[in-house]
């Protein structure tokens, strides 16, 4: 994939920067310029806390090209505390079984490597168990 394509998503990948709707206060991630809640323009940046819960999960045994080195890996839908759901890999799981409702927090990890193609390492968000978080 193109270097610029990863570069321009750096705020989202490294810092979970989304948007907040100035009209209805909905928190939006990934950013989109039309609020999905009220349909009005939303361009104000908002930094998410990175805390959330596992909403759904699965483990991948057959990876798309470029992700084979991680196999097997667990991916999840994470419901962020602020509302939106994001798709991400889980990491640092140890022997802990993954369950829906499990509290997690965002960390920055290597997502993929291009190998010999461009030699590019792509970093971004993954989520790990948040052991000290209160279960809601």
């Amino acid at each position: 994939m193109e270097i610029s394509r990863h570069w321009r998503l750096k705020k989202q990948r490294y810092s979970l920067i989304g948007e907040v709707c100035p009209h209805c206060d909905a928190k939006i991630f990934p950013p989109r310029d039309v609020c999905p809640e009220c349909g009005q323009e939303a361009r104000s940046e908002f930094a998410f806390s990175g805390r959330g819960q596992v909403y759904s999960h699965t483990t991948i045994y057959d990876a798309p090209a470029g992700y084979e080195n991680n196999l097997p890996y667990t991916v999840a839908l994470i419901k962020l505390d602020e509302g939106p759901i994001v798709t991400a890999q889980l990491t640092d799981l140890g022997a802990q079984p993954v369950e829906i409702g499990m509290p997690v927090e965002m960390v920055t990890r290597r997502i993929r490597e291009d190998g010999d193609e461009r030699g590019m390492l792509v970093y971004g968000y993954k989520f790990r168990p948040a052991w000290n978080a209160p279960i809601k």
């Binding site: 759904s56 699965t58 057959d62 991916v75 993929r112």
Partner: protein, 391 residues
């Protein structure tokens, strides 16, 4: 708007066609459809295909195939809506005929998938998802469906084993379809023991890909001679497209208000029902998009055949078999006929035509007059619903 009739159907077996190119497969299905119709006039060609650029390094399929079938000069284009490309192309062709812009339209769905390495095909299929926010996280298309199914099990309380009837039904029907990829029955025990590929989805929840092509020839119904109105020149009932609708949802599963509800299926089915003047109770058979068993349940629910969260019950109660209340996947479905992604939506429509003409052999639904086909692109981002009627 003119009523549109399907006067010709054609298909190739879904298989690993190592000896056949993409254009050759498309041509085989097209010539079969023209032969079936007994016609050769063609004004336009709409090609349903998802991944020719990614997997075959070939785009411009409209011109490629028009040239191959000996019709350079006609208007031709590719229509893409991920795994929903086939039905999207059929709908584009339907609109061309209905509007009066064209009088005779070929629709072909074609996909060539088995030239590539599995990881390349997996990457290609993942282009149906949000490239920046799903695929970039290493998600395969199977995994996205697994996330939907895991959540569905959690919310609805069904167990994985409750989905067995969907796969067993599709395989049982494919035994009698010579074009099917997997013409073999499976047992409940085999389903339970199948290798897990992305929990809770195991190998027998998932449809096999393959190479294949299917084609339709569309003309205005009013052009059929009045003396044979209701039947074509060969004494077969004329099949009319009574409902055709397409709807979209968020491309990413995570952006849905409810990731276990196919909003685009609900919208397109409602529109198609309204056009055809029918409801789910009038549908005699339903070729739904069982790329994964979870999609069978979600599709049945969104289209009004089951209450929300109750889709698996139809399978467990035997309502989806040939003699049940709403037979589904009567020719094998995606699960066993196979899923050559961009061609699948056209295969579904070919199969509904077979049923309405009474040409479905051992899997014939007795007295079928109204059939529905629903083709899903991505995890539910584009969903196209067609309702076909006989007489």
């Amino acid at each position: 708007m003119r009523e549109v009739a399907i006067v010709g159907i054609g298909q190739t077996p879904v298989d690993e066609h190592w000896d056949k190119t993409l254009r050759l497969l498309a041509g085989e299905a097209i010539f079969a459809a023209l032969n079936d119709a007994g016609r050769d006039q063609v004004d336009g060609l709409f090609v349903g295909n998802m991944m020719s650029g990614e997997l075959s390094r070939q785009e411009s399929l409209g011109a490629l195939i028009a040239d191959w079938i000996g019709l350079p000069g006609i208007e031709a284009m590719k229509i893409e809506a991920a795994c929903g490309s086939g039905a999207a192309a059929a709908r584009a062709g339907m609109m061309a005929v209905a509007s009066g812009e064209m009088d005779s339209v070929l629709v072909v769905g074609v996909e060539k998938m088995t030239d590539s390495l599995p990881s390349e095909t997996t990457s290609g299929l993942a282009t149906a998802a949000d490239a920046d926010y799903e695929a970039a996280q290493g998600l395969s298309f199977v995994a996205i469906n697994a996330l939907a199914m895991q959540r569905y099990l959690y919310v609805s309380g069904w167990k994985h084993t409750d989905f067995a009837p969907f796969s067993i039904n599709s395989h049982a029907n494919a035994v009698h379809n010579p074009y099917a990829r997997l013409q073999e029955a499976i047992t409940e025990e085999e389903y339970h023991k199948a290798r897990m590929i992305a929990a809770p989805i195991n190998l027998l929840d998932a449809s096999p890909t393959g190479d294949g092509a299917a084609a339709l020839l569309l003309v205005p119904r009013e052009y059929l001679r009045p003396t044979t109105r209701g039947y074509d020149g060969r004494g077969r009932p004329v099949i009319t497209i009574a409902g055709s609708a397409s709807a979209t949802d968020t491309i990413a599963l995570h952006d849905r208000r409810d990731p276990t509800w196919l909003r685009a299926a609900e919208l397109s089915a409602q529109r198609a029902y309204a056009q055809a003047g029918v409801g789910p109770q009038e549908i005699d058979l339903f070729e739904l998009h069982d790329a994964f068993s979870i999609m069978s349940a979600l599709s049945l629910e969104a289209c009004g055949f089951a209450e929300r969260g109750q889709g698996p019950r139809l399978g467990l109660e035997g309502q989806i078999t040939l003699s049940g209340r709403i037979p589904i996947c009567t020719r094998g479905g995606l699960k066993a006929r196979g899923h050559p992604v961009g061609a699948t939506g056209v295969y579904q429509m070919v199969e509904v035509v077979q049923q309405l003409r009474g040409e479905a052999g051992a899997t014939q639904v007795e007295g079928a007059r109204v059939g529905m086909a629903q083709n899903i692109g991505g995890s539910g981002a584009t969903i196209v619903t067609h309702i076909l009627t006989a007489l």
